[in-house]
């Protein structure tokens, strides 16, 4: 249970970090909170030749609202801050609520939003939230800066659109209207375990109380977090009601492709996902915003 040897570097700027990574090549890894990478190293599933430690880069832990009310969260922002910082909980309550489901306080005190997104565990909460909310992921690499939409970022299990040498700078969440309805529900075997399945949902109502915009995503239900587009289509333009939510939930299995593992069968995950979709939408609908 000890990681193999590696060399350790502490860059002083993002530019410096990227230059180090270019020099050391693909066997070097960036490390942020390390709450997934270090267990993998302790198990020797990961054996990087060098760690480039991003923790000293305070430029990566800034949180701000831009002029269009988008919420910018620096990649190095600790998960615990997502649940506790009023600047975040007020501007994006769904993100804060989902963050509270992540592992345990000891992990959340150290783990980062950027690390969770870059790691791309299909059962992790934060990738599901950025997907449901159409967040933009801002990257910097040897070839410069670029923005990737969440829908294009997650490619497969632990696989993302990140190219060699790129690191996450910032996650940009579009403006969150104050009266938006939202919910997040997951089922896990024990508190703090990865979700067997989880559902995030939000919707906006227009003047006729019909759903004018919505976003739903599932985690633990495929090899990436999944946007539930067929359920969204079922909701759009209709007035919220339990029968409507049941109709939307019946579409969930069309978008997900869960797997069997030691914790649950694929069929069970499908049933839980549909049940959670109803619960999450009901939670959202009943929320007094």
């Amino acid at each position: 249970m000890k990681p193999p040897k590696f060399s350790y570097l502490a860059p002083e700027s993002v530019k410096n970090a990227i230059a180090m990574k270019q020099e050391l090549g693909e066997n070097a890894r960036y490390i942020a909170g390390g709450q997934s990478l270090v267990p993998m190293m302790n198990f020797r599933v990961a054996a990087p030749s060098a760690l480039i430690d991003l923790n000293g880069l305070t430029e990566l832990s800034k949180v701000s609202l831009s002029s269009d009310s988008a919420l910018n969260i620096g990649a190095l922002t600790r998960t615990r801050r997502l649940e506790n910082d009023p600047k975040i909980t007020g501007a994006h309550p769904l993100l804060a609520a989902a963050a509270r489901h992540i592992a345990h306080a000891q992990i959340r005190n150290r783990g980062t939003i950027g690390g969770s997104i870059a790691h791309a565990d299909p059962a992790a909460e934060l990738p599901g939230i950025v997907l449901a909310c159409d967040a933009e992921i801002e990257l910097q690499g040897p070839r410069g800066f670029r923005t990737v939409h969440a829908v294009d970022f997650f490619e497969s299990v632990f696989t993302t659109a990140l190219e060699e040498g790129e690191l996450l700078l910032n996650i940009k969440f579009p403006r969150w209207p104050k009266d938006r309805k939202w919910g997040f529900q997951e089922v896990s075997r024990r508190e703090g375990d990865y979700a067997l399945v989880g559902i995030a949902a939000w919707f906006d109502l227009d003047a006729t109380s019909s759903i004018s915009a919505c976003g739903l995503s599932a985690i633990g239900a495929a090899d990436t977090p999944v946007r539930l587009t067929k359920s969204e289509a079922a909701l759009l333009g209709s007035v919220p009601s339990l029968p409507l939510f049941e109709k939307a939930a019946a579409e969930v299995t069309a978008d997900i492709d869960p797997f069997d593992d030691v914790h649950a069968s694929a069929i069970y995950r499908c049933e839980v996902a549909a049940a959670l979709a109803i619960r999450t939408l009901t939670e959202a609908w009943e929320r007094d915003t």
């Binding site: 267990p39 302790n42 430690d53 615990r80 992990i107 005190n109 508190e191």
Partner: protein, 161 residues
């Protein structure tokens, strides 16, 4: 090129210099280099909570951070909870409520509970259960540990810390 690193750590208000490999976790460094064996290692992959220490007042897994990364942090281990040889109110409450049997999980439970009570001086039982959800105890069934933390919260509110 995995050279030895000379680092300096602030642990329980003492500064310690040591020479380590980059791959040495904070937990191993505390135990093997600083002889602070109160911090226990169970799973070494962030699941059992036995290695919990405080870093700048918040709880972290010392098995999931390398010692070199802990430079500049104020680390508190279970050895740092008692002041002048006197048990802290939390430790006394563990003693009085029989909140330990074999004692393996106790350092992690104490540091986790210390962080909880600093942040939330009057937690509910549910909040305590949630706070220690990342700490595995195979003896007590947790009831007495939750009792002790609730009791400690009361003691801390009444007496001097």
């Amino acid at each position: 090129m995995s050279e030895r690193l000379k680092i300096s750590l602030n642990v329980n208000n003492d500064t310690h210099a040591c020479e380590i490999d980059a791959r040495m976790t904070l937990a191993d460094c505390l135990r093997e280099k600083l002889d602070l064996t109160g911090t226990h290692l169970g799973c070494e992959h962030g699941v059992c909570g036995a290695c919990t220490v405080l870093a700048d007042g918040v709880s972290i897994r010392s098995c999931l951070i390398f010692a070199v990364q802990a430079q500049g942090m104020k680390i508190t281990t279970v050895e740092g909870l008692a002041k002048d040889g006197e048990l802290s109110p939390l430790q006394e409450a563990f003693h009085d409520n029989h909140a330990l049997q074999c004692g393996f999980c106790t350092p992690g439970m104490l540091t986790t509970a210390e962080a909880l009570l600093t942040e939330n001086p009057a937690p509910t039982r549910r909040e305590v259960e949630s706070a220690i959800s990342g700490n595995i105890c195979r003896c007590t069934g947790y009831i007495s540990i939750v009792d002790a933390i609730i009791d400690a919260a009361e003691r801390r509110r009444q007496g001097p810390p």
